[in-house]
Assembly symmetry: C2
Homo-oligomer: 221 residues x 2
């Protein structure tokens, strides 16, 4: 039986965030920096990366430099550029744990909805594009507003971590649990990532109905 | 802004459960009976329905009789017979709120996975087959084991309620909240039901990894 308090030590790992100039990426960068990690924010433009990084006290660089340097790489790019960005970084990301947190969503006047993805999910697309990386899916439901809010000390939700490589999911669960108030909970294999990504559309509906920044806690775990 | 404590009064409504001889249906029947509702368990066989109903102290009958009599009808049939069962009950279900809790899942040696559904989800299939009913999706993640456990007084999780008819979703939220320890939380439109159904595969993975009967709580709501 898995134990949520028995994780590998990940305190020394550096974290790179591709697309780290967006709110989600910047929010995660801020929380990992608060937890004591070396954090690198990546962007297509080194200048924009440095600007975003400065605002939260970390380093910024081009996506390729970040992908090459960081121990663990989080993918927080817009869905639009997801496949092309990862294809262009295949070499830099080889051998690394790549954590995909991208939600393929569309929006219309009725709100958000899940976009169909040929590979089944953004995470499975990443795995297809990056055969030499260890792809994990996580951090889909963490509100950027809460991550960036200086008043919020404890984020207070669970992060579902999905993947087919037990060592990699254990490590990403440990990483998620470094954020104050977060538990990293194993959430299944990569083939079950699509619904986790799509569920972000439901959270957006919930946020609208209840004026909230909703997330999930897993009960009985 | 929606208020989780301001629900319509549903205490007097009778509840029919199609496929109520399965664990999920029987578990829901038991909890609604405990909450004081008249509950009718339906099955293709009146005899099997009566047997299951007796075991939890409610009434049982053929699906068609239950569909005709109950104020609200919950669909808890196996995915295999979902479409055909609903097609055969179109007349009985006309004008009623129909609550679909069916999860289209497949199983192999790696566990559970979401089956593709032409209409997008079981709930959307129900809406397509029952144009004269008000279809709501709910109760996907409630562990049958917990519902049936006489030691568990408080179920302790949230039920996501999805639908396009506000009056119907409000009413089903109220109904869910009649179960001790449960909150009925609005979870979005019917077009976003597929990922909620599919997420049951992830809960099965979580249950296996952590020896749990996992469910969800929505945070910040």
């Amino acid at each position: 039986m898995a134990d949520l308090n028995d994780f590998p030590d990940v305190a020394g790992l550096s974290i790179g965030i591709l697309g780290g100039t967006g709110d989600q990426g910047k929010g995660l960068a801020r929380r990992f920096a608060l937890a004591g990690h070396t954090v690198l924010i990546g962007s297509r433009s080194a200048e924009r990366a440095r600007e975003a990084a400065e605002s939260i006290g970390v380093r910024g660089a081009e996506n390729a430099a970040v992908a090459a340097e960081a121990d663990i790489v989080i993918v927080a790019v817009p869905w639009d550029g997801h496949k092309a960005t990862l294809e262009s970084l295949r070499g830099e990301l080889a051998g690394k744990i790549v954590v995909d947190c991208v939600n393929p969503l569309g929006f219309d006047k009725q709100g958000a909805y899940a976009l169909p993805v040929e590979e089944g999910s953004a995470a499975q697309q990443a795995a297809a594009v990056l055969p030499d990386s260890r792809v994990v899916a996580a951090f889909h439901h963490v509100s950027a507003v809460i991550l960036l809010d200086p008043e919020v000390d404890e984020v207070g939700l669970d992060v579902l971590v999905l993947g087919d490589d037990r060592e990699a999911t254990d490590l990403v669960q440990a990483l998620a649990s470094r954020i104050a108030g977060v538990r990293g909970v194993y959430g299944g294999r990569l083939r079950n990532a699509g619904q986790v990504e799509a569920l972000t559309a439901n959270l957006i509906s919930i946020n609208r109905r209840y004026k909230a920044h909703a997330g999930f806690r897993i009960t009985d775990v």
